[in-house]
Symmetry: C2
């Protein structure tokens, strides 16, 4: 009934497909056994996702004759640590899986990043299958091969690049997300329009309601997003150049996440990105690179959707601008002391600015906060 | 005075040089700052190596203006575990090193594997410099990019491929090794002759004494070994094919190490490889693939050098052949149940045999043990 789209991520011998549709979870076993006959899987998930979807997945794998070994972890960002990495690695080795077998991640970004990291280091690299269950994971972490865990020094500071062999993005499972979680993922969808696809951003302005309610527009928006990220990643797999464009809104966003101590009650990643994207457009206008009209248009759309767009939307207040700037400078995308920002000349016209002076950012933030 | 040789490991954009000579340690700072201006280093080493060489290295780095942050770990195989990996990772992040900075490994295989793994995962891959201080590390782990740690399920089961940016092999530091440790490394040198360089094996038969005493023959033998491994690795970086040839003697050798519970008082890696190489030649002769004369010649040379060559040379006895076979089958080089062995048609004529029946190995070992 429902349309299915396949997006190929073109990375030479590491190329893989993303299958996007409302039946991807139930069809997982058939799809995997057809593509990787004889494979066995360690299935890594968390308690929340397991309660909704683990049975469906295991049933599908069973029916296809695929040996599956589930491991259910605690939900939440804290799971992305060294202890849980060890737990996953030990589980995979205990099941005596070989290099040709797979670690399958059933969950959002946390589970995907953790399980992908384990897949990247057990036997120096096993197969990796992703079944992302959040919108954010479907349009962001399912493309690009970044895996990792957090350290006391910061988020995602430890990890590897390890491409999946297959991604199954079930668009129907997104109905189990809270509105807030769905919206947060949507910020990344809008980001692809803002980076270099003005016509996609305009399409989203017209179609976001249908996308939220789950029609074919949802499949379409996710497919466009994955294709957009895939083309950037294909051009720069190891993040030496253009891949930085994907950080549009993220330098400000990460700083806000850090400033709110990664407390998801106050701010989740996608919300930080939403505010960050509006700030990036306003900062670009402030630097006379873009028009304030475009910044207003970005803000209006994200606000319509229900996302926060201003610093003042964050409950509980923010630390002083000096502290915010310190968080910006600590972001790992800093190159030898210079501040790197993704700026824009207008909607869909973003670019990498390598040497933004810290004082300018400081002045801009001060003015924004007092206005 | 002493000759220096440079071996290039040709891996496209991951190519790097191995500098081999008696002044490599003292010249480290100059060499590194010339090639990677502005770099900072975390120096990972162990207590034993630190007592001999850390001061020389730090002095050299200091003199070249390179910021260096030493971390001294306990010596021994047990250091290759998750806890020490975390310690190294945390040290590197605490020093606020960036992607363009380096982890420098000063030590043998354990330190190289551990520090290389940390370099491969901090910020998803930092620069890595190796200063191998054992003969084994100079001719084996300095080429190929294999890094990793042990797990309770086996050795080297967790790790990544991460190529170094530079290797400084100081041939004079090898004078601080015990005779036994030097000999153990020598087994891997002889291996390169046995794989596909009969003329190098003959050269070693004539020149091994000079190589042991440290003349230009030492630089030459190490350079030939590195070049030999480099050409195999260049043809098969991720170990899908010909790279398996480097396991000549290792399938038997690993099984013997496991059977002696990795107790280095009874058997060290290179000694297991020496016995394993003789067994591989005898097994090939037993299968009518090669002559017993060649097996005798291999044994004679390794024995001259002072290496063990027979199962009966291992003190304390070995478990039953069934158990040995189980260790062989558990080796991670097993492909979906079949036994993979490196066999030979004679000296310098080794090849990969993909489906050696377990019963043949069992019969051969039984006969060998009772003869």
């Amino acid at each position: 009934m429902s349309e299915t789209q396949i997006v190929e991520v073109p990375l030479g011998e590491r190329s893989y497909d993303i299958i996007i549709g409302a039946q991807a979870l139930a069809g997982a076993g058939g799809e995997i056994s057809r593509r990787m006959p004889g494979i066995r899987c360690a299935v890594v998930t968390d308690e929340t996702v397991a309660s909704f979807h683990l049975e469906t997945l295991i049933h599908s794998l069973d029916a296809a004759g695929i040996e599956a070994h589930p491991l259910v972890l605690k939900p939440g960002e804290k799971t992305k640590d060294f202890d849980n990495l060890m737990t996953v690695v030990d589980h995979v080795l205990s099941c005596r899986l070989e290099r040709g077998d797979a670690v399958l991640a059933l969950g959002g970004g946390v589970i995907g990043d953790l399980a992908g990291f384990a897949a990247g280091i057990v036997r120096r690299g096993m197969r990796f299958i992703q079944v992302p269950t959040s919108l954010l994971a479907q349009v962001d972490s399912s493309v690009g091969g970044k895996t990792g865990i957090n350290s006391r020094h910061g988020k995602n500071l430890v990890g590897v690049f390890h491409q999946p062999d297959l991604v199954l993005a079930d668009t129907a499972v997104l109905d189990t997300l809270s509105d807030r979680e769905f919206r947060a993922g949507y910020a990344e969808v809008a980001k692809y329009g803002l980076i270099d696809k003005p016509e996609f951003f305009a399409w989203l302005e017209r179609n976001w309601r249908q996308m939220f309610s789950g029609g074919p527009e949802r499949v379409q928006a996710i497919a466009v997003s994955c294709r957009a990220k895939a083309s950037v990643v294909a051009a720069d797999e190891r993040e030496g150049g253009v891949r930085a464009l994907l950080n549009l809104g993220h330098t400000f966003g990460h700083a806000l996440e850090a400033a709110t101590e990664f407390d998801s009650r106050r701010l989740v990643h996608g919300e930080g990105v939403a505010i960050g994207m509006v700030l990036a457009h306003r900062f670009s206008a402030w630097l006379n690179l873009a028009s304030y009209d475009d910044a207003d248009r970005v803000e209006r759309h994200l606000k319509d959707v229900g996302l926060p767009t201003r610093l003042s939307d964050i409950e509980g207040g923010l630390p002083a601008t000096d502290i915010l700037l310190e968080h910006i400078a600590q972001d790992k995308k800093v190159k030898r002391g210079k501040l790197t920002f993704i700026l824009t000349r207008g909607i869909g016209q973003s670019f990498i600015a390598d040497d933004v002076p810290g004082e300018e950012v400081h002045r801009f933030l001060e003015e924004t906060r007092s206005s």
